[in-house]
Amino acid sequence: MTKPRHAGVKLVLLALVCYFLLPVWWLVVASLKNAQGLFGGGSALWFDGFHLFGNLSDLFSYNNGEYLRWLGNSVLYAGAGGIGCTVISVLAGYGFAMYRFTGRGFFFAAVLGSVMVPLTALVIPTFVMMSNAGLTDTIWAVILPSLLSPFAVYLMRVYAGGSIPEELIDAARIDGAGELRIFWQVALPLMRPGVITVLLLSVVATWNNYFLPLTMLSSSKLYPLTVGIGLWGQLAASNNGGGQSLWNLIIVGSLVSVVPLVVAFLTLQRYWQGGLTVGSLK
């Protein structure tokens, strides 16, 4: 009775996996090919020679190694923006969940309402403001706006409320611990899965962001990978024939840019999946 049903379940799941894996599979296969293999009319979904290392060295040496610089920029933006956003959101979520300070209701309602504000609609006025402050085309124009994530605050509030027993906090108070010390030594360890979830989500959001750096930055030295690869895509498309070798670089460059996040999700999956299960939805 159960066996054939599960066979059907597995079959549908495998079909779904094939669909979601298709572009990634293509990316891996295409990254191993050279330009002839890519454009030579062979099967797009099967291997043709092994040129990965050649492609990689081309990638990192092209145009004085601008790819490596973009990679470094992405690490900087995602690190500073993502970690900063996590610290700010965790503190705020904890504050909202554990203290009944004056004005809390109003402020939190404003935060919830702002989840609805289309963040891309903020990019143009933010650009004009940054430009007036002389901050456009600097790393701060990308990092500072990335610190804002109303949704992360919402997640952390829900998570803190669900995972920290108030009795434990009261017990620590009776033992004479200060509020900051309680946060650091009692609450933070309890919130760890939630913190890792928010950290991953905000690092991914900053790493993948395209609209914000695209508008804020004009010198290609400061580009993150997303904007850099987008630029290569435009260059390659605009000179169809001569752009062939650039397509190779775009493909292998895309592969390299995806690897760090996939590794992060895989190694931390125990935490972030737990974080979503316990905290995010009640």
């Binding site: 049903r5 597995k10 549908v12 799941l13 779904l16 996996v17 669909y19 979601f20 894996l21 298709l22 572009p23 990634v24 990316l27 099967s43 797009a44 700010i88 503190l91 705020a92 904890y94 504050g95 203290y99 009944r100 300070f101 809390r104 402020f107 919830l112 504000v117 289309p118 891309t120 609609a121 903020l122 143009i124 006025p125 004009v128 403001m129 500072l144 804002l148 109303p150 919402y154 946060f183 790493w207 993948n208 395209y210 508008t215 997303t226 690869i229 987008g230 498309a237 493909i251 895309s254 995806v258 996040l261 996939v262 895989l266 999956q269 979503l276 299960t277 316990v278 995010s280 939805l281």
Partner: protein, 310 residues
């Protein structure tokens, strides 16, 4: 519990009420960094965009106050209306599609355990870790008639594959890219919600004679309604702001992606190609207004079943 503590308690509480109140004000310290970021990068840009949108800047006239002229212009601007119509139509198709794929995947994954289950879960989630720029580029390659597999597979059956980025097909081409990119993320949220259901409910249903399909449809799905509403709202907000995918495929789509393809692309081009920041702000604000309206209507329609704002 004992008589003495019960008698002493009221006085103790009265003595500490003001102290507790004072202690709760420490909460402000915890939310202060966020408050600063919130004011600087959300409230201030919003107010500033609102302010900018009330002015016009002409070469000869300089900056003059225009009142709501920019808004009446925006809502009668064929470019804005066309883009808005596109994202609304797109939302109507892509949201049910994403939600359907995510729900089916999550319900299936909830049925089985073991290696295949955890492998499938990660693989379906994988596109979320791929930057939208890369996702759009990869699909652009896959659609490509010169070296994509879509063409090759079609030629096996002797048919002409449709070029999914031509102006007639780009709607479907983008539909596929967006569904691929986001369904896995929504699947994880639904899956997490399913895991938090007490499984004794299934036991009871099974004793009453329900089969797996009925349990999935009649018990699991209603119980995760608030997660579904949350996803719908996110998906709605995201789709109405559609920008990255059409922008990235534009160079290889041979003109299918016009400079006014979506309201966000239109605002971007107005601001950064034509330096019309005032009108661009009005377009952004009008789009924000439409998003807000759509979410408000949606929240009102689903208010009884919970969700983000309950």
């Amino acid at each position: 519990m004992s008589a003495t503590t019960a008698k002493r308690e009221p006085t103790v509480r009265r003595a500490t009420t003001s102290k507790i109140n004072r202690r709760h004000q420490i909460g402000w310290l915890f939310v202060l960094p966020f408050l600063i970021v919130f004011l600087a990068f959300l409230v201030a840009p919003l107010l500033y965009a609102g302010y900018l949108s009330l002015f016009t800047k002409g070469l000869a006239t300089g900056t003059t106050f225009a009142g709501f002229d920019n808004y009446t212009r925006a809502f009668s601007d064929p470019s804005f209306r066309k883009g808005l119509w596109l994202v609304l139509r797109f939302s109507l198709v892509v949201i049910p599609l994403q939600l359907g794929v995510a729900l089916v995947a999550a319900l299936l994954l909830d049925e089985i355990t073991g290696r295949l289950a955890s492998f499938s879960r990660l693989m379906i989630f994988l596109p979320y870790a791929v930057p939208a720029v890369i996702g759009a580029l990869m699909w652009g390659f896959l659609y490509s008639p010169s070296f994509g597999p879509v063409e090759q597979i079609a030629s096996l059956f002797n048919v002409q594959a449709p070029f999914l980025l031509s102006s007639g097909n780009i709607f479907y081409g983008l539909l596929n890219i967006v569904t691929w990119q986001w369904s896995g993320y929504y699947m994880i949220i639904i899956f997490a919600a399913l895991k938090s259901i007490d499984s004794s409910i299934y036991e009871a249903a099974r004793i009453d004679g329900a089969n797996a399909f009925q349990i999935a449809l009649r018990i699991k799905t209603p119980l995760i309604y608030s997660a579904l509403v949350l996803i719908l709202i996110f998906s709605l907000i995201g789709t109405l702001q559609f920008f990255v995918e059409p922008q990235i495929v534009a160079p290889i789509a041979n003109g299918s992606v016009t400079p006014d393809f979506t309201p966000n692309i239109y605002a971007f081009n107005l601001a950064f190609r034509y330096a019309q920041f005032n009108y661009a702000s009005a377009i952004s604000f009008s789009l924000g207004f439409v998003v807000f309206l759509a979410v408000a209507v949606f929240t009102f329609a689903t208010r009884k079943r919970g969700g983000l704002f309950s």
